[in-house]
Symmetry: C2
DNA sequence: CTGCAATTTTGCAGTGACTGCACATTCGGC
DNA sequence: GCCGAATGTGCAGTCACTGCAAAATTGCAG
């Protein structure tokens, strides 16, 4: 239920090709952004390097940004599922710290792509708008998941959305801090941030 | 020092005309978005309704979004100034609650424009990406201001950025909650959100 | 009030993201 | 091999946004 990103359905050639194309586009986009910066990269270039037509690019990603920082529907579901399940005595905030931190850590699956994404994320401040735009989707998915976990109706109370929004904001603040040459390592800062949030801000 | 948005420099005809044009574009944009929705409005239409050429639109706003939800450099400075000054025994978070709430409240200056903006903000979920993009500018300005107030060097510690980011996230969460038909009035929810943040989330 | 300099407006041409559509290609099952 | 479905591709078009240079407007000095 959690290891099916590579092994899953290698049966269908069609499905495999789609995965390959998507990944090729993803890597091409990251490559080019590292080389020339986000603004200087065109969708045509990305498609060309990935070996598909310009039109096909938009069959896979709705925007140039999505090819660089886009979160897959699958990833989204997996995060939501992780938040929904109630791990022994973990508070929602603790679960969120764990899950959001894992999004930045190069995980077992697709290390290269993750590491690449992370480096670009930290190095390109011009991607900030796209990044926060993408966060909206994550926030919505996680909010819905937390509402299910808490057993409240969607939108009934502020609590779930507030918790998720604050947690994401904390991680984002750490990223921005890093971008501006701030002190400390990312993981350590994230831990500190969540501690302060848990203790109450002033 | 705080009442110079209308009275200020009516001396120069040039300056006055610029203000008028900016305002006309702003109102035209809000009008059209209310009528047809953000996506269906073109910059040409906005310019046309405001009585200027299409090219001139981009002399005033860098993007279509900015004409609808853009925060002026002046507004930004005024918020920053408000946060920088240390009001008797107010904690940073309390100051932020006051200032951010005032951004949504139709203030004494330009009531109409503010009220219009607020209505559209709450009614058009499609503007969410643009909204969070705009928030980055606010966050940066307020972070710098808070750092000055706390007497720390820019980017030296996480604290200032974290506090500002969380405060903005809280307000945004309330707005999203409202958009999704959530319960309660906006101001009341904002108050509750800040109380929880101050008390520490779980 | 008149010409001059600075500022602003505008038209034009161009780039690039993104979309709908029709058609070709490929794949999976039979 | 054959057919329906999914996918890839070319084409034409819209629209946001930009740089550039000419035209209009404003401020100012004489």
């Amino acid at each position: 239920m959690s290891t099916d990103l590579l092994t899953d359905e290698s049966c269908g050639l069609r499905e495999r090709k789609k995965r390959e194309t998507r990944r090729a586009l993803n890597l091409a986009a990251l490559d080019l952004v590292e080389e020339k910066g986000f603004a200087a990269v065109t969708t045509e270039e990305i498609a060309s390097r990935a070996g598909v037509s310009a039109r096909t690019f938009f069959n896979y990603f709705p925007s140039k940004e999505a090819a660089v920082i886009g979160t897959t529907a699958e990833e989204l579901e997996s995060y939501a599922a992780a938040l929904e399940e109630d791990v022994h005595g973990e508070t929602p905030l603790e679960s969120l710290r764990r899950i959001l931190a894992s999004m930045l850590a190069p995980s077992s699956i697709d290390k290269e792509l993750r590491a690449r994404r992370r480096r670009i994320l930290l190095g390109e401040p011009s991607l900030a708008p796209a990044l926060v735009g993408n966060n909206i989707r994550i926030e919505n998915a996680l909010t819905a998941a937390l509402e299910r976990r808490l057993g409240v109706r969607p939108g009934a109370s502020l609590e779930a959305r507030l918790t998720v929004a604050v947690a994401i904001a904390a991680v984002r603040a750490c990223i921005e801090h890093q971008q501006n040459g701030g002190s400390g390592r990312l993981e350590r800062n994230i831990d500190q941030a969540f501690e302060r949030i848990g203790a109450g801000l002033r």
